[in-house]
């Protein structure tokens, strides 16, 4: 029978995967003021670059992950320089449609390069280590954790902490926060908003690229739609946390991740509905806290 604690652990692992994507999406949302629908493709691309590094070139997995981090980050810069600079004053809806176009474009490029068939990272299989086996009353507790799980959670937290330090300790990070708070004020204060946007794209892309690697490690299989398939959940996490708040997004990611897994315990509801669950939670929270959990603060 499903062990309740195990579900929570699974949720934490899944939350960690969407965590990186959520932070990046939230930064773009807050600073650029638009929803990046191509974010799922960033994840996919990160996964496929990891694949290229790990399988095609035979590099160690974390070096491949670093490649994904750098490459997708660079792609973010490229997109910003080529495409987005023309759209600094566009309305959010224009930007949304633009990113939908970008998503279709990127996915087609991924297809052309890697084909439609699934690819596999071929990471070694591992049976989870059993921890804390036992029970109290009716509640079975007992969890199995694999080293991949631990690596995913660890890596996600390290990058999240890194992002936190970047946002609080560096000039650029502080400029980003200022711009998220108030664009015109930031401009008046002499912040080079153009550069800030580019850096935001880079950071957002790099985090998503790494998120893609984690996703590939967890799923084991890569295919062109993999990122798009979870981007809705990422959006749910971002909105739940409060748009534009990376810390809110972190909380949101874990809440959504855990809630999805734990929803299996509700009797009479098919496991397939757990994806719907993320949205129901999100809407329920928004009804009572319209600004999201972080309430528009950082």
């Amino acid at each position: 029978m499903a062990l309740e604690l195990q579900l929570v652990v699974n949720g934490i692992v899944f939350g960690s995967i969407i965590l990186l994507a959520s932070i990046g999406l939230s930064l773009l949302y807050g600073i650029g003021d638009f929803a990046n629908f191509a974010h799922g493709e960033f994840l996919t691309l990160g996964a496929f670059i990891t694949f290229a590094g790990y399988v095609t070139f035979g590099l160690p997995i974390y070096v491949a992950g670093l490649m994904a981090f750098l490459f997708v980050g660079a792609l973010g810069v490229l997109i910003d320089r080529i495409l987005m600079t023309r759209h600094r004053d566009s309305t959010p809806i224009i930007l949304l449609i633009l990113t939908i176009g970008l998503a279709l474009f990127l996915r087609a490029v991924i297809r052309l390069q890697w084909g439609d068939n699934q690819r596999t990272l071929g990471m070694p299989l591992e049976r989870g280590t059993e921890l804390l086996q036992g029970s109290v009353g009716w509640i079975d507790y007992g969890i199995r954790i694999t080293s991949t799980d631990i690596a995913i959670v660890f890596l996600a937290l390290v990058l999240a902490t890194g992002t936190h330090l970047f946002l609080t300790r560096t000039r650029m990070g502080i400029a980003m926060r200022a711009m998220s708070d108030n664009k015109s004020l930031a401009k008046v204060a002499g912040i080079d908003t153009d550069t800030v946007m580019t850096v935001t794209w880079a950071l957002s892309g790099a985090l998503a690229g790494t998120g893609g690697m984690l996703l590939a490690m967890q799923t084991g299989v890569l295919f062109p739609r993999m990122g798009f398939n979870i981007v809705l959940v990422v959006f749910a996490a971002v909105i739940l946390g409060g748009i534009g708040s990376p810390y809110g997004a972190m909380i949101g990611a874990y809440i959504i991740g855990i809630a999805q897994e734990v929803s299996v315990m509700i009797p009479g509801i098919s496991a397939e509905y757990r994806y719907a669950f993320a949205f129901l939670i999100m809407i329920a929270v928004l009804l009572y806290k319209p600004q999201g959990l972080a309430g528009g603060r950082w």
Binding site: I93, I97, G101, L106, R107, A276
Partner: protein
């Protein structure tokens, strides 16, 4: 039994284009007119299609056995399949829209977008997993009364165009009326509309429900066109297609929505002829290039003509939030 040859292909494309045009008009009422950022088009499209499939099954038996001409308008008060299916599709979509609207229409624009997207996905999961109702992943047959007619495809085209005409008239009349004016006020600034005594929630709900009902009608027509529907027809990508039609045609313009739907058809179906000009292109590469092209065109259009063909420049280029 049917029209054939290139003409039939054209008829089929026009029918699909007409369906997209109806969807685009529905979305235009919501987005172009009222500023509701709805990304659940595919859900209402699907609800309409499934409703039509379900009711056509119910009514099929009796109405068919009478051997009546199927487009015959009722005399003795017995309803005939097609209008019933279409109207019921609209009603069911409307009811669902009310239920979805209550929690989501209070939300800020972008929250509404994601919330509606999530609900659309939930509805698709219901199509997929509630086999007792929808046939689940296997899909659902549609007892299409048109199939036995002499010119099935032509009849469907005529029906689609008639529906499109009605929908266009309703939308245009609505837009020109004080009702349309109030919706535009909400689009421009909801708080001002409130200050002027407009019940904005109620008006937004009306726009949302009417738009969704129109999408439901398009769903019923889609069911008649495909004769068999599966949940895989109603994935989020199709919502984006309708958005493309509205944005490219020009937000706020119903004529633009129709032109946008035409453009969408060219964009979606045109590249099918790509392989005629580029022999040696494999099917999968052609398919990928097609999406590459769609993405590219989309980016170019919003970059160089953000207001679309017939759009209100005001709406698309100035930040109204």
């Amino acid at each position: 039994m049917a029209l054939s040859g290139p003409a039939a292909f054209l008829v089929s494309m026009l029918t699909l284009g007409g369906i997209y045009a109806i969807l685009a008009i529905g979305l235009n009422i919501q987005w172009g007119q009222t500023g509701l950022f709805n990304i659940s088009v595919a859900a209402f499209w699907g609800i309409g299609a499934y409703t039509a499939a379900l009711v056509s099954k119910v009514g099929g038996e009796t109405a068919f056995s009478w051997g009546l001409p199927f487009l015959w308008v009722d005399v003795v008060g017995f309803p005939i399949p097609i209008p019933v299916a279409v109207i019921l599709a609209a009603i069911v979509s409307g009811v669902v829209a009310v239920l979805i609207g209550i929690p989501t229409l209070r939300l800020r624009t972008d929250y509404l977008a994601i919330a509606s997207l999530g609900l659309a996905e939930t509805i698709r999961l219901i199509f997929l997993n509630e086999g007792w109702l929808t046939g689940g992943g296997t899909g659902s047959t549609v007892s299409n009364p048109l199939v036995d007619l002499q010119y099935t495809n032509l009849t469907l085209l005529v029906i689609t165009l008639v529906v499109l005409g009605i929908v266009y008239w309703l939308a245009e009349t609505g837009v020109q009326s004080p009702w349309g004016r109030a919706l535009e006020a909400i689009r421009d600034d909801e708080e001002v509309a409130q200050a002027l005594g407009k019940n904005t929630f109620s008006l937004k709900m009306q726009a949302f429900v009417i738009g969704s009902m129109i999408m439901g009608v398009a769903g019923a027509l889609t069911a008649l066109r495909l004769n068999y529907i599966t949940p895989f027809e109603f994935i989020p990508e199709f919502t984006f297609y309708v958005w493309i039609a509205v944005i490219v045609g020009g937000s706020g313009s119903n004529r633009g929505a129709i032109i946008g739907a035409g453009f969408l058809m060219v964009l979606l179906e045109g590249p099918r002829f790509l392989s005629d000009f580029l022999p040696g292109l494999s099917g999968s590469v052609a398919a990928d290039l097609r999406f590459l092209l769609i993405g590219l065109v989309l980016m170019l259009v919003v970059t160089y003509r953000p207001q679309g063909f017939l759009g209100d420049k005001q709406l698309m280029t100035e930040d109204n939030t």
